[in-house]
Symmetry: C2
């Protein structure tokens, strides 16, 4: 199909499609003349994925570019997942030496108990360290959250199993990598909303006064 | 303390503190002369909370304002939590009628099975509807994720119990509301990172070739 048809099929303005082409988010079409190219169903699919990552995932254009570069790199699956996760987590702000050492200790112990790899230079570990330091800094009253870290970690293990079950139910390698990206970004939005509904129900049970 | 001391105690520039005062995120100090005010420990605490919501939670200044207005409103706890959640979820984009009806049906059935309230006009339900429609639209291959909605919902129930246990372990009402906001925003960031580490471990077990 031509650019105008790709625009119609994806429901995006031509200018938007050209912008994603320029930014490298969308692979070029097959050139048929100096001014024209032909696009296929894979371009429509890719545009849907871009839209999902931007609108529902709330990622920036730059982050979407990094994630898609990882998907397109054809490196071994585990490596691509690492690259995609790295792009999604982003870079965390620096924290002071003392709280950083404390939080790294907490994360290392937790990782040992749960069989996780927690390399201090990993962006996920850095994000976790920043979050823990912030929680500790806010008030001693929030120790309750830290005391339940293992409960949360155990539930994270259960969710990761479901996540990977979902992902491995797909046939091809490309499918696995793309599904993991979708699972990571949209799965987070999904779970965020489910957690809100469950919290609201639990909060209603505990806090709403019973009618007499 | 005076403005300069509040700035030092919070580690924020005076201009930033004044900006939060103007935006209503920080309550005014006690006026001691036409040009001076006195601030207390509660101002330092509030600044830490603002910083956490902005930096770690990734919220906008406007959203932080809405969340803090809910915290400060002194309405009944369950109502304040609803207001805070509403501000956090934001407003979802519109979706077409047919996919919307399908997604609402999925959410309503799920909510019935899990004892949740799922009012169609709630922002959380709208966010869930948008996410489900996006996943369905991306490819039939992503049905795997939808098929595991109940698994995710069951784990969300378990997490909500831990969330509310954390929150109710605090003594005062103000503490509960503030802790829930912290738990909601930072708890999401925390769980996001834990899920990444658990996924990475699970992905390593399943995808990394074993050395001979």
């Amino acid at each position: 199909m031509r650019m105008a048809e790709l625009s119609a099929a994806s429901g995006m303005p031509v200018a938007t499609v050209k912008y994603y082409l320029r930014e490298g988010l969308l692979q070029p079409g097959e050139r048929t003349s100096p001014n024209q190219a032909r696009y296929g169903e894979e371009h429509v699919q890719r545009l849907k994925l871009i839209r999902a990552l931007l609108d529902v995932g709330g990622l920036s254009v730059a982050t979407v570019g990094e994630v898609l570069a990882a998907v397109d790199s054809h490196a071994p699956t585990h490596e691509v997942l690492g690259l995609a996760q790295r792009a999604l987590v982003g870079s965390a702000k620096d924290v002071d030496e003392e709280p950083r050492a404390w939080a790294l200790g907490v994360v290392t112990d937790l990782a040992t108990r749960h069989g996780w790899k927690a390399e201090p230079e990993s962006p996920t570990v850095a994000a976790l360290v920043l979050t823990l330091c912030t929680i500790r800094d806010l008030a001693q009253a929030h120790d309750g959250l830290l005391a339940r870290l293992d409960d949360y970690a155990t539930l994270a293990d259960r969710i990761a199993e479901v996540d990977l079950d979902t992902v491995t139910s797909l046939p091809s390698l490309d499918g696995i990598v793309e599904a993991t990206v979708i699972g990571t970004v949209l799965g987070d939005r999904l779970f965020f909303a489910l957690r809100r509904l469950a919290q609201s129900a639990e909060s209603g049970r505990r806090f709403v006064p019973q009618e007499g």
